[in-house]
C-alpha cells in the first residue's frame, strides 16, 4: 500500500525519477519515486521520446516491466497498482499484436486498444500540473503571516471540529474503553502461585489479615476463585490459622 512518509519538502523538477543505462542491458536506478504507475508511464514515454497519442506499446511495456523487475531486485515493495498497470500494458500489447481484419463495417467500431490508457494519461498529466500549481501557491502563502494573539482572543484549548474529528474522537474513546477492558483481563490472569505469594507477604507483614478485606481486593470472579484456593493452600502448607470471632463474622487469617 501507499505508505510514503510526509516529506518536508520536495522539488518537482528534482524529484523526477531517473533510470540511467549503465551498459547495454543493465539499468541503474539513480532516483525513483513515482507517485503511481501513471507517473512511471509518463516518464518512460518521455524518455523514449514517444508520441503520447501513438505510444510504441511493445517498447514501453518492455521498459515498464524492466523497471518493475529492477524495483523488485532492489527490494522495493511494489504497490499493487504497479502490477495492475503491468497487466494492462501486456493486455494492450497482445491486442495490438492480433492481426487486424479490416472490413468496411468493423473499421469504424475498431477502437485502438491504447485509447483508454491515453485518455487516462492525459487526464493524469493535467492533475499533475495542477498539483504543481498548488505547490507553488502554498510556497508563496507560507511567506505570509497573520497577526499575533491579541488580548480579546480566547486562548483556551478549543478545537474547530469537522465531522471527521467527531469520528476520530469517538474512535479514541472506544479504544480507551478497550484498553480498560484489556487491563481487567490482565488482572484476571493472576496465577495461583502469584496469589499465594502476595497472600503470604500480606500475612507475614501484618501478622493477621481480614479474609473479607483480602477478597474485596479481587476484581473478577476468577481472581476470587484463585484467592479462595490460595487461602486453602496457605492454611494447608504454612503455619496459618483461620479464626472467626462471631458466627457469620469476619474470618481472620493469623500467622501462628
Amino acid at each position: 500500500m501507499e505508505q510514503q512518509p510526509e516529506q518536508l519538502s520536495f522539488d518537482f523538477y528534482k524529484e523526477k525519477p531517473h533510470i540511467a543505462r549503465q551498459s547495454r542491458d543493465e539499468l541503474r536506478l539513480t532516483l525513483g519515486k513515482f507517485a503511481g504507475p501513471l507517473d512511471l508511464l509518463l516518464y518512460l514515454i518521455k524518455q523514449e521520446q514517444a508520441n503520447i497519442f501513438d505510444i510504441p506499446i511493445a517498447r514501453i511495456t518492455d521498459e515498464y516491466l524492466k523497471y518493475i523487475r529492477l524495483m523488485k531486485s532492489f527490494d522495493i515493495t511494489l504497490a499493487a497498482d504497479f502490477l495492475v498497470m503491468a497487466a494492462t500494458l501486456i493486455e494492450i500489447k497482445s491486442k495490438m499484436l492480433l492481426p487486424k481484419e479490416i472490413t468496411e463495417e468493423t473499421e469504424e467500431e475498431m477502437e485502438d486498444p491504447r485509447e483508454a490508457l491515453v485518455r487516462q494519461l492525459l487526464e493524469h498529466q493535467k492533475f499533475k500540473n495542477a498539483s504543481q500549481m498548488l505547490y507553488e501557491r502554498s510556497t508563496v502563502e507560507q511567506a505570509v503571516f497573520g497577526r499575533g494573539k491579541i488580548e480579546s482572543d480566547e486562548n483556551n484549548a478549543e478545537t474547530n471540529a469537522s465531522v471527521f474529528d467527531l469520528l476520530t474522537v469517538f474512535q479514541k474513546i472506544l479504544s480507551r474503553h478497550k484498553e480498560e477492558v484489556q487491563m481487567e483481563i490482565e488482572r484476571e490472569e493472576v496465577s495461583l502461585a502469584d496469589m499465594i505469594k502476595s497472600l503470604k507477604k500480606q500475612i507475614f507483614e501484618k501478622k493477621e489479615l481480614s479474609l473479607l478485606a483480602f477478597f474485596e481486593e479481587m476484581h473478577t470472579r476468577r481472581e476470587l476463585v484463585t484467592a479462595f484456593i490460595a487461602v486453602l493452600e496457605i492454611v494447608r502448607t504454612e503455619g496459618v490459622k483461620l479464626m472467626q470471632t462471631a458466627t457469620f463474622g469476619d474470618i481472620i487469617l493469623k500467622k501462628i
Partner: protein, 183 residues
Amino acid sequence: MEIEEKQPRSIAEIISIVEALVFVADEPITVKTLSDVLEEDRETIEAAVEELKQEYEDRTGGLQLREIAGGWQISTRTEYHEEVRKYLKTRPNAKLSLAALETLAVIAYKQPVTVPEILEIRGVQSASAIKTLLDKKLITAKGRKETVGRPMMYGTSKDFLLQFGLKDLSELPSIEDFEDLVQ
C-alpha cells in the same frame, strides 16, 4: 434621560472601523459581517474595503490587506518573510508529499469526489494521502454519493483556501488550462 441621535458616519470613519474589525478578527472577515456590525449597506462597506486596500498598497509598509477564503484579512507582506520567520523561529511548514498534493489537486478540481473516482484519475490507491489531507484539515467530508455503497464524498475546506491563498474556488485556474502543458 437624553437620547443621543446617531450622526451618520463619514467614509473615513467607516474605513477606520473596517480596519479595526479586520484587525481583531481571527479569521478573514466577510463584507456581510462588516455590514452587519457597522449597520451600513454592502456597497458602502465594499467601497470602504477597496479604498483601505488601495491605501495599504500605496503605503507599501510591512502589511497588506487581502481577500482570502471569502473574507478580508491583514497579513504581513511576503517580502519580509525571512525576518518574520527569524523572529517567530518557524521553519517553512512541512510540505505535502507528491502523493498528497496530487490527491488534493484531484479533490480540488473534481469535488465532490469519492475515493474510487480519485483512484480512477490517479491510478493509485490514495487512502493514506486522503487521511493526511483530512488530518491537515485541507479536505472535508461532503456527504455521500447516492450510488452503490453510498461512498463518502470529499471536497476542499476553508483551510484549503487559506493555505493556498485563494479567495474562493472560482479563483483556481481552470483544469483545462493545464492541458496545453501536456508534452
